[in-house]
């Protein structure tokens, strides 16, 4: 068995507010390179918290996350930030594009954070916008774009630094069915053609259909892992 690309062990997150809420409870999960994993579950089951822990956005109360042999617990805040900008890509439900910047500037942002040269950035931005089919809207601000277009820009931004894993939190949750379908198709294509690893939190059954594995969470625990065969 090959070494998993992303692995979490006994991952636990307890929020201390009130009597304490156990959002993620002793989760063990391994994700292989090139996998498309969907994480589903009811509202409040801990999906987003798990994704945040996998993405180094939040720190666990207990347990460990390892990405590409790097243990998150051994990384400082700036070390985690470096990991996020070089090894991970994020897609959010509400797109989370910066309104002050145009579509192409939003896509360029992660590359600026790693200090790439401007000509390299320009070329890559063009390629990525072409890849997600939105090059014609490159100079538009996010508020001039539709939800589906904004999410495509967000996907292009997530892919900017060739991340090992793209983590998506309800990427279709704020889209109509047509745009949702297009985004799922885009994920599947990128996964199939480029071997891009995806971990997608979603309620959408179409996402689950596109995934290799479907992890279901109940009360912060993994209740089932369903392997799916892809045609």
């Amino acid at each position: 068995m090959t070494e998993p690309l992303l692995h979490c062990h006994e991952l636990t997150k307890r929020f201390l507010a009130g009597d304490g809420v156990l959002a993620v409870d002793n989760v063990d999960l391994s994700i292989q390179k090139g996998e498309f994993v969907a994480i589903t579950g009811a509202s409040g089951s801990g999906k987003t918290t798990l994704l945040n822990l996998l993405g180094g956005i939040d720190r666990p109360t207990y347990g460990e996350v390892i990405l590409d042999n790097r243990k998150y617990s051994r990384l400082s805040e700036s070390g985690l930030a470096r990991l996020r900008r070089t090894k991970l890509g994020f897609v959010f439900q509400f797109f989370n594009l910066l309104n002050d910047l145009t579509a192409e500037e939003n896509v360029a942002l992660p590359m600026r954070l790693v200090g790439l040269q401007q000509d390299v950035i320009d070329k890559k931005v063009r390629d990525l916008l072409h890849e997600v089919g939105i090059e014609a809207r490159a100079s538009h601000s996010p508020y001039e774009l539709s939800g589906g277009e904004q999410q495509r820009v967000a996907v292009a931004r997530a892919l900017a630094n060739d991340p090992l894993v793209v983590l998506a939190d309800e990427p279709t949750g704020n889209l109509d069915s047509k745009n949702a379908s297009a985004i799922i198709h885009l994920f599947s294509r990128l996964n199939g053609e480029k071997g891009q690893t995806f971990v997608v939190v979603s309620h959408d059954p179409h996402v689950a259909e596109a995934a290799h594995r479907v992890v279901t969470l109940v009360d912060g625990r993994i209740s089932s892992i369903e392997e799916r065969s892809q045609s």
């Binding site: 945040n52 805040e77 700036s78 996020r84 989370n96 992660p110 200090g115």
Partner: protein
């Protein structure tokens, strides 16, 4: 470095350590490079905030510069009315000619050892406008004027001792002193410089003559001044009281009085303007603080996105700092230009010259940057200390990143 570690906080120490290394400097450069375009876009886009922030800084700077110009003009006016007096003694009392009774009382004054009569003239000479004192050759004051550098002190008519600074001319005849008499006639007398002395202090730079010559120039029969040398620790107020009792109409100078008069006057002029300036800067600072804090709270999610994408806490801090700095610079420039325009419009109508000093704009810039740093500190600290999920999901953030503090939440956070 060791000294620095002992003095400053761990965060500043860490920043200093980072700046000390090439990697650290590179990290700061990258943070700046990534924050700059976002900050500039934000400034361009948030025009209302830019205008309000610039107004806060600009108004403070403008009012400071106007106050400084008014204060400088008033001080100049006040100083022109105060004539510095170079004293030959630690105290001098100048009055009209002493009556015989007053002269006797001075002689009898038991509580002042070195109080003696003499002549005091304010005259013109080749050395410019200068005080002249006339003393008996055996007067104690003569010996107290200072060390004789060359020659001797005057002992007879037509002789004069000069301060060392004038003494470079050497022994010479023809040192002319003129003085207008009470009747308006110009009294003139020619002296031979017989010696130069190094004054005991910078105060005593009088031309020294004998009593006869001084009396002739002063056109009076009686001495008109009392000189008193006092030891360190002498109660000067008591001495002043005694001499004023003897000469109630006299003007009393002490070594400190001219200086203290000027200093006191300047302080009286400057204090209200300094107070008003401080108040204006505090108001401006509060405005800046509110705008920066509001901006941070409104942009928590945006900063959270940047942090999620990999901008570290340093980058987020640089982002807010750069925005604030650019706005402070714009505000300072606007305020400076406005103050010059106001002075250009108002100045000609005023009875005195209103000019902004050379260093006033520099001081204004330093003040506004200091106020900006203080006003920006909390938002910058909040953005640097907040966790990514606090920012991204718009949760409350706390100055103290300690979990127990964040989970207590009694202070409410931001």
């Amino acid at each position: 470095m060791i000294e620095m570690q002992g003095r400053i906080g761990p965060r500043l120490q860490q920043a200093w350590r980072e700046i000390s290394t090439a990697d650290g400097r590179q990290a700061w450069r990258e943070a700046f490079a990534s924050a700059w375009p976002v900050a500039m876009r934000h400034i361009k886009r948030e025009k209302v905030k830019t205008v309000l922030f610039s107004l806060c800084v600009g108004t403070s700077v403008c009012i400071y510069l106007l106050f400084s110009a008014f204060a400088a003009a008033t001080t100049r006016g006040a100083l022109s009315g105060v004539e510095g007096l170079l004293l030959p003694a630690d105290m001098i009392v100048v009055a009209g000619p002493l009556t015989d009774e007053q002269a006797r009382e001075v002689d009898r004054a038991p509580d002042i050892d070195l109080l003696e009569k003499g002549y005091w003239l304010d005259a013109l000479s080749q050395g410019g406008r200068t005080p002249v004192i006339g003393l008996e050759p055996r007067a104690k004051t003569m010996g107290k004027m200072g060390q004789v550098v060359w020659g001797r002190m005057p002992v007879g008519p037509g002789e004069m001792a000069v301060p060392e600074t004038l003494g470079v001319i050497g022994p010479a005849r023809g040192f002319v002193v003129r003085r207008a008499s009470a009747g308006g006639a110009l009294l003139e007398r020619e002296f031979t410089v017989v010696g130069a002395y190094r004054p005991l202090s910078a105060l005593a730079t009088c031309l020294v003559t004998t009593v006869e010559d001084a009396r002739a120039l002063n056109a009076g029969l009686q001495p008109n001044a009392l000189f008193a040398f006092v030891d360190e620790g002498t109660a000067l107020r008591e001495l002043e009281k005694t001499t004023q009792r003897i000469l109630p109409e006299a003007k009393v100078y002490t070594a400190v009085s001219p200086q203290s008069q000027v200093t006191g006057l300047v302080a009286r002029v400057l204090s209200p303007s300094a107070l008003a300036t401080s108040f204006v800067f505090v108001l401006g600072g509060l405005g800046m603080f509110n705008l920066q804090l509001l901006s941070f709270l409104r942009r928590k999610r945006e900063i959270g996105i940047l942090r999620a994408l990999g901008m570290d806490a340093r980058g987020a801090a640089v982002l807010l700092f750069v925005e604030g700095f650019v706005l402070a610079v714009i505000g300072t420039a606007v305020g400076s230009v406005a103050s010059y325009l106001v002075i250009g419009q108002v100045g000609p109508a005023l009875p005195y010259s209103l000019v902004i000093g050379t260093w006033a704009p520099v001081r204004a810039a330093v003040y506004s940057i200091l106020v900006f740093v203080i006003a920006t500190w909390i938002p910058v600290a909040l953005s640097a200390r907040a966790t990514v999920d606090q920012l991204l999901y718009n949760r409350r953030v706390y100055l103290n990143p300690n979990l127990s503090c964040a989970n207590c939440g009694r202070c409410g956070g931001f």
